[in-house]
């Protein structure tokens, strides 16, 4: 005696949010039933384990049938097979494209290739996320990347329109795409303390300020790549450390402004040249793709770590960077004010964001 066939089809497709989440998390039907039983849905609704199993199987089947539509969320709205209310559609898409921060930290900045996909089982063991879920998340990254890669116009907007994602999620995907495209190194031990949201914030800064799309609004521009011209110009900033006079002048301006305003003034004064060299060197090297990859590690090594070892507070860092940036404009011989502002604006907000334990 066995149930050979068991289906339930509603005119409006019934989808249980909880089961959907279990499915997304890569649980098998049996595991999902166990979780649901523990969740107490049985007592609530006077149901039996059998009923729960039947319902779970049915829901899983529905989700599988929907999955190919979710790969192209725009299709979900004008397909005829499932009648799903718009708010449900939004929920389905949003959850399908949601990802685990711990997972994304593992693949952030890596090439979204078959090779990376093969290593997902390691990621799965490391993060405790099921392989199925890892694959879904990885495929989502890859799918978004592929679609957006060739598109012109603002990155976040493109993602939002093509995948109908809510604003925050679209921004996160923009960050992922941006990191994957520029292959930023994020896996080094020194960077482990940084969360995905830290990187996403920095990516947002870079996208908004350092790409071609950031300066002029011509739609042909792409947000995925850094503005080459700007990177070229960054080399001109070197004068700030190569010209001895300029460097000293800069230092004295900053120190005058800072004196008496912080407890770590001595350390600031002592470290000024080092730190300034560090930041300007990062700028000058960005023209090389390889150094772009090391952008974050450089920031940590050249600036954050020294400051941290001198026990600066983030207020100190903020103060220092503000004056460090502004004082340059008082230097008579320095000509590259626009580039400096564009560069330091991003650097300052990135460092402030990254400056935590």
């Amino acid at each position: 005696m066995s149930v050979e066939l068991d289906v339930f089809v509603g005119n409006t497709t019934i989808m249980d949010k909880e089961v959907y989440q279990l499915w997304l998390n890569g649980y098998t039907v049996n595991d999902a039933v166990k979780v649901r039983i523990e969740g107490g849905v049985m007592e609530e609704c006077e149901a039996s384990a059998e009923v729960l199993l039947s319902d779970t199987m049915d829901q899983y089947r529905t989700f599988q049938m929907c999955e190919r539509l979710l790969h192209h969320p725009a299709k979900l709205a004008n397909q005829l097979l499932f009648q799903i209310p718009p708010d449900r559609q939004a929920m389905l898409i949003e959850r399908y494209y949601a990802f685990d921060d711990s997972f994304v930290r593992e693949v952030l900045g890596k090439k979204l290739s078959k090779g990376t996909k093969k290593d997902l089982d390691d990621v799965s063991t490391k993060t405790g996320i099921t392989l199925k879920s890892c694959r879904r998340q990885f495929d989502n990254f890859k799918r978004v990347f592929k679609v957006v890669e060739e598109l012109k116009g603002p990155l976040v907007e493109n993602i939002r329109q093509h995948f109908l994602l809510p604003d925050q999620l679209a921004r996160d995907y923009a960050a992922i795409v941006f990191f994957a495209n520029n292959r930023f190194e994020t896996g080094k031990k020194k960077l482990h303390y940084l969360t995905f949201q830290d990187f996403a914030f920095c990516a947002g800064q870079l996208i908004n300020n350092w790409t071609l799309g950031a300066v002029d609004n011509i739609m042909e521009d792409m947000d995925v790549d850094l503005d080459k011209e700007f990177l070229q110009e960054l080399k001109d900033l070197k004068i700030l450390i190569t010209d001895k006079d300029l460097l000293d002048q800069h230092k004295s301006l900053v120190c005058t402004a800072l004196r008496g305003k912080t407890n770590v003034f001595n350390e600031m004064e002592a470290n000024f040249k080092n730190l300034s060299r560090g930041l300007v060197n990062i700028a000058a090297k960005l023209i090389n793709a390889k150094d772009v990859r090391d952008f974050f590690i450089d920031l940590v090594e050249k600036f954050i770590e020294p400051c941290r070892s001198d026990k600066w507070t983030s207020i100190d860092v903020n103060l220092y960077l503000t004056h460090y940036t502004n004082s340059v404009h008082i230097l008579d011989t320095f000509k590259h004010h626009a580039v400096w502002t564009r560069y330091m604006g991003v650097i300052k907000s990135c460092i402030l964001r990254m400056y935590h334990d």
Binding site: E4, L5, V7, F8, E46, R61, L80, Q83, P86
Partner: protein, 1105 residues
């Protein structure tokens, strides 16, 4: 050339990739009608081709227009090899042939392939130019409207009900033709689909002709079925009720200018809702059941409200303040009434001239009605269920020499009917005759709620027919319009609150059948139609508990919906009897004999089970009874479903007593008394659950609650040697005490256990298999139609007991699953639960359920809570409301004995009435205010989001409450979505909405086959996809007709066959329904809040009464 069909192929989208090399498709379209084919150009290398073709014109006979579907084939062009078919779309042209239905078919339709399912969509435009054909001898019946709905459709009124129409068409099944051996499965499936399309077209045309002959213009309750007889062919048959319908012309202007009209008029349209506006979620008038109960014998109070409210709407300038009591209404409404009466009389006269007096001659040979719900006053008396079955051996239809019909009833296997060319016709003829004679035996002249069905296994076929014997009001047949919405004609009946009896009496005396005095409609239909001294079966008769003037039976079984005006105590529930009987494998005649011998026992047991379960729930009547008997190789399945209710007019059912046969054993007796206690407890619990607390007065009057003799089987069976055996069975049982269950063997013990193990519905759920549940009014707009299918594999060598248990568990578990699935809709009622069982193979049982879950407002539950003494205070408005209602209840209670003790207590009741009217005024006024706010909000929404058909309706239709809290963002991102929401429901109405147009019948047949079952997710995955596809296609066709809902939807066939070893499966599905366009009541009302406010007070006062 009476017709020109025009089609235009606009575009395609989401097409499958047909060319692996380019990942694209070179698509073109063939448009075929009859023998003419047109082609579009090839649109190269695209999955979203834009053909934008010219108009393809077909000049055809309207006969062909009715028979043939428009066939659209999408193909992939291939230069070197044959073009590959992508899929097809069949379009039924019929809705375009009727001036009142759709005018154009336009929209995205799924491209369907029987092997691959839906493969993209195609956008088409189809129109028909019809020339008038006045040829008397024409073969077409264009313009006859068809409705699946088993009541008078909402925006029509019946001028005349002509009666029963039937027709059947036979053909060879292409699947069994020799050519099938050499053609592909796809070709064979398509041949079958096309043939069935053609056959149903032809059938519809022929029935239409019959209707025209009778002078009608529509078929209501149209039921079309397929019999897949395998080798012997394919039968498509249909039955229906011919009517002359008239569109209520003023629907739109009336509702637009007088919105208050819509709610009072609804109580006519939506039987069972009482006077409440069912869809307005905020409406919380006094609880209808209570009211109905209290004023049970006081029909004028109901009619009265209609009168005053309708006069409001029709002549809104007249002051209506004094409408609270009957007397004052009579004075003030005087001139108005006279006017109305004049109009009506003239209308009646006109009809009198045009129609002859032969009321039932008009109904043809069989006075059968496929309708299950009737306008108030139409159904006078109900006798009981009549049913007939016969077992036949199938043979090739086209070979009359071999066409021997065998009825197990005759058991005469040598009787050849060789000279009978139309065997199937003759078979049905036989059965209908039998039904007719059964009805006669019950003293009835008509059968309502009539339906026919078959079950086929190999060459044995069981034909079944059932209905409810009834007496109908002849005035409706002759000249009285069966009006559902039109109030003018009703006026004379309702003008004088005290005089209504007189008027109705007048009508009654004109009725030929001698039911001269018409009593209140609330109990009238329960009164026995047969002669008391000459009862066709032993039955316990008592005086009606409502009017105390006529005899009623102690139990009533019917196949119809609960009449609107019926007085019901408490709520109803789904009651099922399930039975499984093993039988020996046999061939041909032997098999037929075995089956015919088993049938009577099966039916008898089903009946006993139903009766016991009914008693167990403390109820006394069954509505919507449907008994399905399914035959397999080694077993017979019987499933009887019905909705049990407690009719106030009928006596309260006694309990169930069990008795042991072997006394003297103390432990045994203890066991029995334990069991007895359990049963009593269950009955008590059920009474509480279903709120069955009939007035106490009843007990006093009866005196002694003697266990009444068992109700005789109301089921008229047509089994072998019919009359003799039936009476014999009944007699043997009649000697014993009716409710006594004897435990003489293990079987009986099992039976009792089974009785007690029927699990109750979980909290917040109700279920019924009729259109609506008595006692629930305030439906919200959240509805969810669903289909669930289960197939169960049995072990070999099971006993009857084991089988029974498995089958019963299967049904119970299915119900449990449904409750669980739909838990988010609580409080809700599963309405129209329609179970179909089949035995697709040896050891397989298939159960399919289609139903609709409808949420209702908690408000009502609160009221219930109040009844038991708990009073919850909420917001100011509701609080106010509730207090008023509480008063009303007290009021009602005090007056409760009145109608019972004094039939002449009209004046007394009248005074109560006025008190009620005034108090209700405030509550519903407050109600109105809040609902205005709601409406205004809704309106603001609508304006912002544009047309009803796109997103806005989609959002509104969302059955999920989360829909409200949608952010701007999602609004933006979805504004582009173009799929209109189409609601589906097996009911004839949509809660909270008004159907403004019927667009035509939907009758679709699909075959799906796969040779890669595992890859498609196994049998469940395969069927899940297929059912979803069928829903999608129904929705798309409805949307293309300009509709936004399907009502009276049913899945009439779901034949599933599998061969897992070969990785193959095949499924056939046939669905039908009425495509409609509806408008939300809130939208209607919000269009004219102004007018409404002017009439609010009076109309509400009337509504409340």
């Amino acid at each position: 050339m009476p017709g020109k069909l025009k089609a235009k192929i606009v575009a395609g989208r989401h097409l499958p990739v047909m060319d692996r090399a380019s990942d694209l498709t070179d698509a073109f379209v063939e448009v075929k009608f009859g023998n003419t084919t047109f082609k579009t150009d090839v649109y190269p290398k695209s999955l979203n081709p834009q053909w934008n073709s010219e108009w393809f014109k077909f000049e055809v006979d309207d006969e062909d227009l009715q028979d043939e579907p428009l066939q659209i084939t999408v193909l992939d062009h291939d230069t070197y090899s044959a073009n590959d078919a992508i899929g097809k779309v069949y379009i039924d042209i019929d809705p375009l042939l009727c001036s009142e239905a759709a005018t154009v078919i336009s929209g995205w339709l799924p491209i369907y392939d029987t092997i691959h399912g839906i493969r993209g969509e195609i956008n088409v435009l189809v129109k028909v130019d019809l020339f008038n054909d006045l040829n008397r001898f024409r073969q077409s019946s264009c313009g006859v409207k068809f409705f699946c709905t088993t009541s008078i459709p909402r925006c029509y009124r019946a001028i005349m009900v002509h009666g029963f129409v039937e027709e059947l068409v036979v053909n060879e099944d292409p699947e069994y033709q020799w050519i099938d051996r050499i053609r592909t499965p796809r070709a064979s499936n398509e041949a079958r689909q096309r043939l069935i399309f053609l056959m149903s077209g032809e059938l519809q045309r022929k029935i239409g002709l019959k209707v025209l002959e009778m002078g009608g213009n529509a078929v209501v309750g149209y039921l079309q079925c397929f019999d897949l007889e395998g080798e012997s062919g394919l039968v498509v048959r249909a039955i229906g009720t011919a009517c002359t319908l008239e569109k209520i012309s003023s629907t739109l202007p009336a509702t637009a200018t007088h919105p208050s009209n819509s709610s009072p008029s609804k109580d006519m349209k939506e039987p069972g809702f009482g006077e409440e506006a069912p869809g307005v979620p905020l409406s919380s008038g006094p609880p209808t059941p209570l009211r109905a109960q209290t004023f049970s014998s006081f029909s004028p109070s109901k009619s009265y409200s209609r009168q005053s409210s309708s006069s409001d709407t029709e002549l809104s300038l007249t002051p209506k303040t004094g409408m609270g009591s009957g007397g004052s209404a009579g004075k003030e409404g005087g001139p108005l009434k006279a006017l109305l009466r004049q109009q009506t009389q003239s209308a009646l006269e006109q009809r009198g001239v045009s129609s002859s007096s032969e009321a039932f001659v008009r109904t043809g040979e069989y006075p059968f009605f496929t309708l299950a719900a009737f306008p108030p006053g139409f159904l006078l008396h109900v006798g009981g269920v009549v049913s007939a079955r016969s077992v036949k051996l199938l043979d090739r239809i086209h070979n009359p020499a071999l066409g021997n019909t065998r009825s197990y009833k005759l058991l005469d296997w040598n009787s050849f009917t060789a000279d009978e060319p139309e065997t199937r016709d003759a078979w049905w003829e036989e059965i209908r005759q039998e039904i007719k004679s059964h009805a006669k035996a019950l003293g009835c002249h008509a059968v309502v709620g009539y339906s026919e069905s078959t079950s086929i296994c190999e060459e044995v076929c069981i034909l079944s027919a059932s209905g409810t014997a009834a007496i109908l009001s002849s005035r409706f047949m002759q000249d009285g319009p069966l009006d559902t919405e039109h109030r003018l004609s009703r006026q004379p009946l309702c003008v004088f609150s005290t005089g209504s009896e007189r008027v109705e009496g007048d009508m009654g005396s004109s009725a030929s059948l001698g039911f001269e005095e018409v009593v209140s409609p609330g109990c009238g239909f329960c009164h026995i139609p047969y002669d008391e001294l000459n009862i066709p079966f032993p039955a316990q008769l008592t005086y009606c508990y409502c009017c105390r003037r006529y005899k009623v039976p102690d139990v009533l079984f019917t196949t119809i919906d609960l009449p609107t005006e019926a007085n019901v105590t408490g709520k109803g529930c789904l009651i099922q009897a399930r039975l499984c009987r093993t039988k020996k494998k046999a061939q041909g005649e032997g098999n037929a004999t075995v089956i015919s011998n088993l049938l009577p026992f099966l039916e008898y047991e089903l009946h006993t089970q139903l009766m016991n379960k009914l008693k167990l729930r403390g109820m006394n009547a069954l509505f919507g009874l449907r008994i399905q008997i399914s035959v397999g190789e080694t077993m017979l399945l019987g499933l009887a479903s019905a909705t049990g209710v407690y009719l106030t007019a009928l006596p309260s059912p006694g309990g169930i007593q069990i008795a042991g046969k072997t006394p003297s054993d103390i432990t045994y007796e203890q066991h029995i008394s334990n069991m007895q206690k359990k049963i009593n407890d269950t009955i008590a619990k059920n009474k509480e659950l279903y709120e069955i607390n009939p007035p106490e007065v009843v007990e006093e009057i009866i005196g002694s609650p003697i266990p009444e003799p068992r109700q005789r089987s109301r089921l008229f069976r047509s089994q072998s040697e019919s009359s003799d055996e039936v009476s014999e069975l009944d007699l043997s049982h009649g000697k014993k005490d009716a409710f006594v269950l004897e435990i003489d063997d293990t079987d009986a013990v099992e039976d009792i256990h089974a009785l007690l193990t029927d699990s109750p519905t979980p909290a917040g759920f109700y279920s019924c298999n009729t259109e609506i549940m008595p006692g629930i009014q305030n439906w919200t707009s959240a509805i969810q139609m669903f289909t669930s299918v289960r197939v169960f594999r049995l072990n070999a060598n099971l006993t009857n007991q084991g089988l029974n248990k498995i089958f019963s568990d299967l049904c119970e578990n299915l119900l449990k699953s449904l409750y669980f699935k739909l838990r988010s809709m609580v409080p809700c009622c599963l309405c129209h639960l329609n179970f179909t069982v089949a035995i697709p193979e040896d050891e397989l049982i298939q159960v399919a359920v289609t139903a609709v879950a409808m949420s209702f407002d908690k408000e009502q539950l609160l009221e219930n809570g109040k009844q038991s003494g708990e009073k919850t205070l909420i917001k100011a408005i509701t609080e106010n409301d509730e207090q008023l209602q509480f008063n009303l209840e007290l009021n009602a209670e005090t007056s409760a004995p009145n109608p019972l003790s004094s039939p002449k207590g009209l004046s007394e009741v009248g005074s109560h009435l006025s008190a009620r009217a005034s108090s209700v005024d405030y509550s519903s006024f407050a109600d109105r205010c809040s609902s205005w706010i709601e409406q205004l909000k809704l309106k603001a929404h609508t304006i912002r989001r544009g047309s009803v058909k796109t997103t806005s309706s989609m959002e509104k239709a969302s059955p999920l409450p989360e829909g409200r809290s949608r952010s701007l963002r999602s609004n933006r991102s979805y504004s582009g979505s173009s799929v209109a929401v189409v609601k589906m429901t097996p009911l004839s109405f949509i809660p909270g909405a008004k159907i403004i147009k019927y667009l035509g019948i939907i009758n679709m047949f699909f075959i799906r086959e796969t040779t890669s079952l595992r890859e498609e997710g196994g049998v469940s995955g395969f069927l899940h996809t297929f059912i979803a596809e069928v829903f999608a296609m129904v929705r798309a066709h409805v949307a293309a007709l300009g509709g936004n809902a399907v009502v009276s939807y049913s899945m009439k066939e779901c034949v599933f066959m599998e061969n897992p070893n070969k990785n193959q499966a095949q499924c056939l599905i046939n669905v039908s329904g009425d495509a409609v366009m509806f408008v939300r009541e809130s939208e209607l009302e919000s269009t004219s809040v102004q007018t409404q406010s002017a009439t609010t007070h009076t109309s509400n006062g009337a509504e409340g009464t």
